[in-house]
Subunit: 463 residues, 2 copies
Amino acid sequence: MISDEILKIGDKLPSVRMFSDKYGVSMGTAFQAYYHLEAKGLIEARPKSGYYVRFNMRRMPGLPEIADPEPVQSNVSVQEMIATVYRNISSDDLVNFSISAPPLSLLPAAKLKKSMLHALRNSRNQGILYEDIQGNPELRRQLARHSYSWGGKFAAGDVIVTAGCMEALVMCLKAVTRPGDTVAIENPTFFGIFQVIESLGLKALEIPTDPVTGIEPSQLAAAIKKFPIKACVFVPTFSNPLGSCMPDNKKEELVRLITRHRIPLIEDDIYGEMFFGPHRPRTCKSFDKEGWVMYCNSLSKSLAPGYRIGWTIPGRFTEQVLLTKLMHTVTGTTLTQDAAAHFLGIGRYDYHLKKLRKALHTQSLRYLQGIMTWFPPDTKVSRPQGGFVLWIELPRQLDAYRLYQQAFRRQVAVAPGQLFSARGQFGNCIRLSYARPWDAEVEEALKTLGSLIKEGARTRRPS
Amino acid sequence: MISDEILKIGDKLPSVRMFSDKYGVSMGTAFQAYYHLEAKGLIEARPKSGYYVRFNMRRMPGLPEIADPEPVQSNVSVQEMIATVYRNISSDDLVNFSISAPPLSLLPAAKLKKSMLHALRNSRNQGILYEDIQGNPELRRQLARHSYSWGGKFAAGDVIVTAGCMEALVMCLKAVTRPGDTVAIENPTFFGIFQVIESLGLKALEIPTDPVTGIEPSQLAAAIKKFPIKACVFVPTFSNPLGSCMPDNKKEELVRLITRHRIPLIEDDIYGEMFFGPHRPRTCKSFDKEGWVMYCNSLSKSLAPGYRIGWTIPGRFTEQVLLTKLMHTVTGTTLTQDAAAHFLGIGRYDYHLKKLRKALHTQSLRYLQGIMTWFPPDTKVSRPQGGFVLWIELPRQLDAYRLYQQAFRRQVAVAPGQLFSARGQFGNCIRLSYARPWDAEVEEALKTLGSLIKEGARTRRPS
């Protein structure tokens, strides 16, 4: 009703009792519904008065444009910017919107500790000896089982455990490329991806990405005709930073395309579990019949970054990935794999993910509302259906790296857009994480950002 | 007295009481001394008779030759041999001499468990969140402190924690080379080293190595003149498989040489703590004044392989190594670093190392004795002063890989010499680990090996 504008902002809602009578639901259910809307910032309770409409999803800011801007000259290299932004980010006074990962308060620390104690008590050899090179067999069984939720049908033998998702990506890349090869990536994309591609002596080819539907297979097809692409590294579900999610039919089309051209697709699905809709989006891997998709994921964004557990299902390249893993880091940590296997095995991971998704969805709407309130009216914002981040396009004349510096002096950190392209594009964009639960400090920080942006928009960028 | 042949094999020793009287030591001390010699297999007790000389260190077999044999044609690639030897090595029935690492019985499992519980109770955030990218600060402090034993003077800031020694080597190599570069390695050397060099798109240049004194700096100097060497990866202390240890003056000379040529030396010191002599051998790093030595080590051979803790002190390349680490695996496991920091901090590591060294020394002599007894008389054996392995040169006509296959069928595993050279040299050598404490099964297994070798030596190798 709110999004259809039957109820407008400021309108009073029917009381909980009236709602309960009208729809034939119990008072408890009605109250739950109102409470839920309130948590998301859609309605607000005014003391001794009732609930009022606060927010209309339809009145959303514009979407960022499909990306292909020319980079702006800068004295600072992308490399240096990344180093600056992610150095000393652990200050307690900092309101840090630059990290795309959940804070401790959204993670099940106490429950995980129990699983670790269980592992310590029951682990063969107290977890001292090398784990199976492919990874703890029980953990691999649990991860294979977990893939059912996105349409996967795998066995423990298909899974290789890695030290986080980055290692999974690196091992997959190493298994299918040689130095000098060209690898297609999204633009914008997570800087870790193009950094590691460079570090492996590979060339990154940036494919423009739609802020809602992600990679357009026909654009990739055109690029394949022009360039000798040897592999793709995409984040098809809730890309970072755009938050785009490829629809099922596009994913299927993409897999057909890369299969026809025999180009391995490394699918980074690290945000796939953090969906806000009713269903887990399918993965490209779920459409993969001939093993050309190398699926990668980890527990670092969803459960325990410090456990260093990622995994890959590399299809026809399983042997090569395993060999590369053996050569580079031998095997993973024994105890944390054991603990994670226990945590997943008793169903706690599924339960935790439900809570995490709900919290993130609520926070995403709250943050969006804050941005609409305190940022300039022509601000454009992505509309992620999952993940941790908003991608915000600011007035053209704004330099996001300068904004980062100004905000940092006021104890607020964002990720400037330049970090997300090898060529330093997106100088007027920022990525803002809503991972931190809403509180007064977040509110203050967003206000600060808003006023800095408004100020910056009034002065021209030095050219 | 035994080695000077004052007492010959089979001679009766003075009784414990006589020994005690003669040398003015207590009966207890005298008994301890005899017990110690017995444990090492130098003397034996005969019931109701006394102690007899069993073994003379001087009567050692010949040393393996300085290595530069031509490779023998083989239908099996080195890669395939490695995969075969290290697949399915976990059978409980196997007497496995192919692993250069301590068995659980030589590791302090219960004490480590206590440190892990301590970590779990006291870790910030229960060890769930990312560790400092450079590694746990307290662990780095302990590792820096530990370097005093080999002449190092470092602070926590000089150390980078990695996922085991292999990752340390890989990160160092990546920091100082580009694909196509040439890297000098020992010949023979641990296959992991030339495998990873190939996997990084680098070229391995094999430098012949003396079985006692390791790399000869003048030989490296000659190679530097002929080839564009961009880095060296050596194991100067107890090399694998030769067990050679460069004398201090050679180490110093080597460091001067690489410093003059500005060639980074990646020093793999993974066996450095397992010395049998009175003192910890110095490292190349201890002679390094200008930061060209990149020191690498780990706890995997000495404490807990499954903890995945290694470290590097990369000198002038610290920034580059840190960046590479961040890009490839982000950071290490939080909890195991915490536990290791505690274990080292309370002095348990030093105590454990003492016991481990003593056990390995005793075992090395016992195994050597077994080889002298059951292998053909012209067998040549290395004389390691530390580490886990013996390098054994068999009669020329023997094919070590065939011997491996025959032995494996009889539940005994050795590492055939071909694994230790990129070109499949050393086809008549085997590496034999004495990590497993001596028992009846070991004795049987060595007898089996001996008879297989005698058999093989009688038949000519098919050519």
